[in-house]
């Protein structure tokens, strides 16, 4: 069973890039442009890792993170200069993000 990463961003082009960059035989990337479909998918098959954009139309990334299963590690992605959050993310990445760093995080959490 491949390592699953869920990526949430209302910017669809970024979803496409994320998927294009990090999909591999061992890593399955699923992208969501709005929170509800992410919640539904999580309920069905929870992923191994979340990447969540901060600025979203309904709720922000911090609020979404708090509503998701706490056991699954989460990374906050943001274009803001200063994003307000209280959730304990494993990493916070600024856009445009360093793809190597994203790869490192995935690699770190992916079982060998």
């Amino acid at each position: 069973m491949p390592f699953t990463v869920f990526y949430l961003d209302d910017e669809e082009a970024l979803c496409e890039i994320f998927s294009d960059f990090f999909s591999s035989d061992s890593v399955q990337i699923e992208t969501f442009s709005e929170a509800n479909s992410l919640f539904e998918a999580t309920l069905r098959t929870p992923p191994d890792l979340f990447f969540i954009d901060y600025r979203l139309p309904e709720q922000n990334g911090d609020e979404i993170a708090k509503a998701l299963p706490q056991s699954i590690p989460k990374v906050l992605v943001t274009g803001e200069i200063r994003a307000d959050y209280t959730y304990n993310f494993i990493a916070v990445l600024s856009k445009p993000y360093d793809y190597k760093l994203v790869q490192e995080i995935i690699d770190r959490y992916k079982p060998l």
Binding site: I17, F21, P57, I81, K95, Y97, Y99
Partner: protein, 609 residues
């Protein structure tokens, strides 16, 4: 005849012929039988004519009947004295004769002496008329030597309020007002007692206690021995005149005082001579020492303005003189002591018989106000700049996200391109995304560039309000999104307004930002913007889901530094600046109190070419 008889006859002849009075003998047939020379001298006819003309034909037609009756009466009474009738002079005029007549029944002759009293009657009539006029038009009183009233006319009673009975026998002191010192009356008494006429102004008191003023002439009246028997006082009521003068003096005093308080001076320029007349306050404002022997001339007056403003005042005065144009100017004066101060000065031409004879006006020290205004203007510019910086800061924060997202797309896709070199469709789609992202960034930067223009120099132009509102919505898009608010623009009028685009954009941004702040904590969050045309005006309505503004707050809403926002969230300058900008554009900002939601209405005049 004996010599004695002859003498006697001669004497009687002389008695008949010599007197200046007229002596005659007339018959009952109505003719003169004998007349002395005075008749022809007084009436201008010769003796023959007088003796051959029936007497009644010589008498004034109106007196004929009376004269007939006199003759009848003489038949009975034999003697009548002081009978007056008029005889026609040869020149057609009439002379008045006073007759003393006797009738002798035996000889049936009338013996009569007449005196020409024409002049006496004339003087008498003049005197009577004068007396009547005096009585009717002036206040007359007669006193005895002690000053006790022995006669007053109606006018005296009227003005004093006393009846004749109350006055007669009273001393003249009854109307003394007590306003004049003893010396005043002593001088008056000394004058009239010495037989001279006294004239002066007296303040008297009427019965009801009110004072009245009279111009008075007191003249002593002498008896036949040349001693003063009475005093005659003739007075004119000058109360109104005195009161008017008092009022005028008081008004002038008030004017002078208010002028001094308000720092308003007056001035007048006599055109022909160039002489300036200044009020006290004008001297004070311009730091010029008033001097009795020096009157300022026009060039001196013009010299009291700073070099820069001299040509302005010179031209204004010149045009007032030449064309009668009035002026109102705010200029800087350079006072005689070298102080520079702002003054408001007006001037207008004065005419006499259609000719401009003078220019007059005011000068007002407005230095304090002007400096305060200038400071306020500086503060306002500073506030606008601050507000702009604040919104720029907000914009920058929002913009970071707006730029970073497309940047992330460009960055990511460009890194992926080498991977898809063999997949033209994918490649094409990525390149399109990159281009789109670049445009997004370019648009944002463009907005920023415009926003950072200095607003110190205003640029008024014709702009479509709709375009400005759309631009403003772009600038607030981020904030709207962040607070999860919907914003909707409808009923679009495409009318133009004449404005400084940046300032109006700032106004709209400010109003939208306020609307967002107002609804951000409400369960329902929306903003609706309408652009409507209403006659010659174009209305911009910004309505938010809030439930209106409390009445207590409405009045203070446009005051600087008034805010209902939390500390750190707003300076309270926004709406006052917004209002200031709109005032300058001749536009109004109001709250629609009828609306069930919060509704701000900005009304501009439509600009037509």
């Amino acid at each position: 005849m004996s010599p004695t008889q002859i003498d006697e006859k001669q004497e009687f002849e002389q008695l008949f012929n010599l007197p200046l009075d007229m002596i005659c003998i007339a018959g009952t047939d109505g003719y003169f039988k004998r007349i002395n020379p005075s008749f022809s001298r007084i009436l201008g006819y010769d003796d023959d004519f007088l003796l051959m003309t029936p007497i009644l034909q010589l008498i004034h037609p109106d007196d004929v009947e009376r004269t007939r009756l006199l003759i009848d009466k003489l038949n009975v009474e034999l003697t009548v004295q002081n009978f007056e009738n008029r005889y026609r002079h040869q020149d057609g005029s009439y002379r008045i004769f006073s007759w003393s007549t006797s009738f002798d029944p035996l000889s049936k002759r009338l013996f009569a002496i007449a005196r020409d009293i024409t002049n006496e009657r004339h003087y008498q009539s003049q005197l009577t008329q004068m007396h009547n006029v005096l009585n009717k038009e002036t206040i007359v009183a007669m006193t005895n030597r002690a000053g006790d009233i022995i006669e007053v006319n109606d006018k005296f009673c009227q003005i004093s309020g006393y009846s004749k009975d109350e006055l007669l026998g009273q001393n003249h002191r009854i109307i003394n007002s007590g306003k004049h010192p003893k010396a005043f009356f002593k001088q008056m008494w000394d004058t009239i007692s010495s037989g001279k006429t006294w004239a002066g102004k007296i303040e008297n008191r009427a019965k009801n206690g009110e004072h009245y003023f009279v111009k008075t002439i007191i003249s002593p009246i002498f008896d036949s021995q040349g001693n003063i028997s009475n005093f005659l006082a003739i007075r004119f009521d000058i109360t109104e005149e005195v009161r008017n003068k008092e009022m005028l003096t008081r008004t002038l005093e008030i004017l002078r005082e208010t002028g001094s308080i308000a720092h308003v001076g007056g001035w007048e320029l006599h055109i022909a001579s160039g002489v300036l007349t200044w009020t006290d306050e004008t001297f004070k404002i311009l730091d010029v020492e008033p001097s009795d022997n020096h009157q300022p001339l026009l060039p001196e007056g013009l010299d009291l303005f700073i070099e820069e403003h001299k040509p302005i005042i010179e031209k204004a005065v010149q045009r007032a003189i030449e064309f009668g144009e009035p002026y109102e100017l705010e200029l800087q004066a350079q006072t005689a002591k070298g102080k520079t101060l702002w003054v408001y000065t007006t001037g207008k031409a004065n005419y006499q018989n259609g000719q401009r004879i003078s220019i007059s006006g005011t000068i007002q020290d407005i230095n304090t106000r002007k400096i305060a205004e200038q400071q306020l203007e500086l503060e306002r510019i500073k506030s606008i700049r601050n507000a702009k910086l604040a919104s720029l800061g907000e914009l920058a924060a929002g913009v970071a996200h707006e730029i970073n997202n497309p940047l992330a797309i460009i960055d990511g896709m460009s890194k992926l391109i080498p991977k898809h070199l063999n997949n033209p469709a994918k490649l094409n789609s990525y390149l399109k995304s990159i281009e789109k992202s670049c445009n997004r960034i370019a648009r944002i930067v463009n907005n920023l560039k415009k926003f950072s223009r200095s607003s110190d120099t205003k640029q008024y132009n014709k702009h479509r309000l709709l375009d400005i509102v759309k631009e403003s919505m772009l600038l607030t898009e981020t904030k709207v999104k962040r607070h999860n608010t919907t914003i909707e623009l409808s009923q679009l009028s495409k009318a133009f307004i004449f404005c400084d685009e940046i300032e109006i954009e700032q106004v709209v941004v400010n109003l939208i930002n306020n609307a967002i702040d107002a609804v951000k904590d409400l369960p329902e969050r929306w903003i609706k913007i309408y652009i409507l045309q209403e006659q010659d005006n174009i209305l911009l309505k910004i309505i938010d889901s809030g439930l209106g503004i409390p009445l207590a707050v409405q009045d203070k809403l446009f005051d600087p530094f008034f805010t209902t926002k939390k500390v750190g969230e707003g300076t309270g300058l926004g709406l006052s600046i917004t209002k200031g900008i709109l005032d300058e554009h001749g536009a109004s900002l109001t709250i629609d109190r009828q609306a069930s939601n919060t509704c701000f209405v900005v009304s501009f005049s439509i600009f037509r070419d």
